[in-house]
């Protein structure tokens, strides 16, 4: 279980996260929803080890990860697929996937996992020697998820994977997230597409200006009037 306790994040003088506590139990999908600037990305980036100026405690299966660097975080089993995909446009699909496996050295298993990614995302297989930058937006998102999965981390954090995709592709992305979860991965999902996220979430937190204002199971929050009016458009 990934546990974040009383997390504070500062950007210069800005106090961006004001004491956030969340729990991501093994095998579950937990989602973090909230408006622009609420602090969703900051939470994930802090867990990933990218933010040094923070307070609080981050533990995974009891081990303290608070002051670990990003490489150590990946090796301990938590990976982040960043906001805006950020695939490497000048590297091929295969190279992007191999980069995701950079922290590993079990070559035979890496080869098997590449095949697994190609089963999960058949379109990537057809494009495996193409440069990442030549893929469509949807394909790039698949590549970003595939790259994160290649780390073999048990916990996959995804920052707005449906951002900027056509409605049909959005559905596909959420189906894939559910499939990844069924295959045993724990998911911490950040989304602005609140309804779709809550539908697949076991548990959810609502973030507003750096603090958690509401939490509950996905079903509870979908039914909640405040969530309905603020995030579900009615």
């Amino acid at each position: 279980m990934l546990k974040v306790q009383d997390l504070h994040v500062y950007y210069g003088g800005i106090h961006a996260l004001k004491g956030i506590s969340i729990e991501v139990p093994k095998g579950k999908v937990v989602t973090l929803i909230g408006c622009n600037g609420a602090g969703k990305s900051s939470t994930l980036r802090a867990v990933a080890g990218l933010i040094k100026n923070k307070k609080g405690r981050i533990t995974y299966n009891g081990a303290d990860l608070t002051s670990r660097d990003p490489v150590e975080i990946v090796k301990s089993g938590i990976v982040m697929s960043p906001e805006g995909r950020r695939i490497f446009p000048h590297l091929t699909v295969i190279e992007n996937l191999r980069l995701g496996a950079y922290s590993r050295s079990d070559e035979p298993q890496i080869l098997k996992d590449i095949e697994w990614i190609f089963e999960l995302f058949p379109k990537l297989k057809d494009r495996k020697d193409q440069k990442g930058g030549t893929l469509s937006g949807g394909e790039q998102q698949m590549l970003a998820l595939g790259r994160a999965l290649m780390s073999a981390a048990e916990v996959v954090m995804m920052d707005e994977p449906s951002l900027g995709l056509a409605p049909m592709l959005v559905k596909e992305v959420f189906d894939i997230i559910a499939a990844i979860n069924r295959q045993g991965k724990t998911v911490l999902l950040v989304e602005q597409n609140a309804f779709a996220a809550l539908k697949i979430a076991d548990y959810a937190y609502v973030l507003e200006v750096g603090a958690i204002v509401l939490e509950g199971t996905g079903a509870q929050l979908i039914a909640d009037d405040r969530v309905k009016s603020a995030y579900l458009g009615g």
Partner: protein
């Protein structure tokens, strides 16, 4: 000009150009990753040559051993320069690292003066390097064949590292997006050290071959070749390894040919590089290969 003379000049140009190219690679790799112009790189080139002299005269090492040791030590110093002078400034504005680079450059030059003296030092050359080889009417010194060949092999090795190995994949990734590489598990600082190490080793190799060709060492000997190699890197498209190679070789050939065809201009020899730079920047500001961003490392 006879055909034989032309070939001779071309080979000389290729030799000089390979030496520029080896230095230019270091500028371009560091720039590709850190967007930093490592002004201390010309001193790294100079140190490579001095360390060989030191190994030969102080420790009586055999030539081959002296060269290998010099390259390894110079690479280590290149890595150390990054650790001490650039890494602490990674999050600072880019100008700070640039100023730090200029400081390191002066520091290394002056350190060399303290250690070896400011007077030029003679390097004696192994005898086999002195006897010209005759190929038909073309007379060339062994170095003229040896330098481009060895440089070519070193560059092949570099291409192999960058395009075929895991650390090379890491280099290509961080040249585009350091943060994402980091969260994917690439040990960014270690890869940057490796980049400085490789660039410095190549510059040291260049400095050593330079010293064999122009056998006089001075603490400021890196300035002009270093500056020209930097121009070659910009000319080829800074950030691009193939660009640095092509830029370096072209600059060497143009320099030698210009003097050969227009002997009156010999005094302006060092100006050609700058003219070339101005022309390329006017026509194609990104350099010859700068547009092909995928080659940036």
């Amino acid at each position: 000009m006879t055909w034989a003379m032309f070939v001779q000049h071309a080979l000389n140009g290729l030799t000089l150009g390979s030496l520029y190219a080896l230095i230019a690679i270091g500028y371009t790799m560091v720039y590709g990753i850190l967007r930093l112009i490592n002004f201390a790189h010309s001193e790294i080139f100079m140190l490579g040559a001095y360390f060989v002299l030191w190994g030969l005269t102080l420790f009586y090492l055999p030539w081959f051993v002296a060269i290998v040791v010099a390259i390894v030590v110079t690479a280590a110093i290149g890595i150390l320069v990054d650790r001490v002078a650039y890494r602490p400034l990674r999050d600072a504005p880019r100008i700070s690292a640039l100023i730090s680079a200029i400081g390191v450059s002066f520091f290394l030059q002056n350190l060399t003066i303290v250690a070896f003296g400011a007077l030029p030092r003679e390097v004696y050359r192994p005898a086999w390097l002195e006897n010209p080889i005759l190929m038909g009417e073309v007379r060339v010194l062994p170095l003229t064949l040896f330098v481009p060949t060895l440089s070519f092999l070193l560059m092949l090795g570099l291409v192999w590292v960058v395009y075929k190995t895991k650390p090379g994949l890491g280099m290509r990734a961080i040249s585009k997006d350091i943060e994402t590489s980091y969260i994917m598990g690439v040990p960014v600082n270690r890869i940057i050290s490796l980049t400085f190490g490789i660039g410095s080793a190549l510059a040291a190799a260049s400095g050593i071959m330079w010293a064999l060709r122009y056998p006089q060492l001075q603490p400021v000997m890196g300035s002009i070749p270093g500056f020209k190699a930097f121009i070659a890197a910009v000319f080829g498209g800074i950030g691009s390894i193939p660009g640095a190679v092509v830029g370096g070789i072209m600059l060497g050939v143009i320099e030698i040919m210009a003097v050969a065809f227009f002997p009156d201009l010999a005094g302006y020899r060092d100006a050609f590089a700058f003219i070339l730079l101005i022309v390329i920047l006017l026509i194609k500001p990104t350099g010859l290969m700068g547009a092909r961003l995928e080659d940036k490392v």
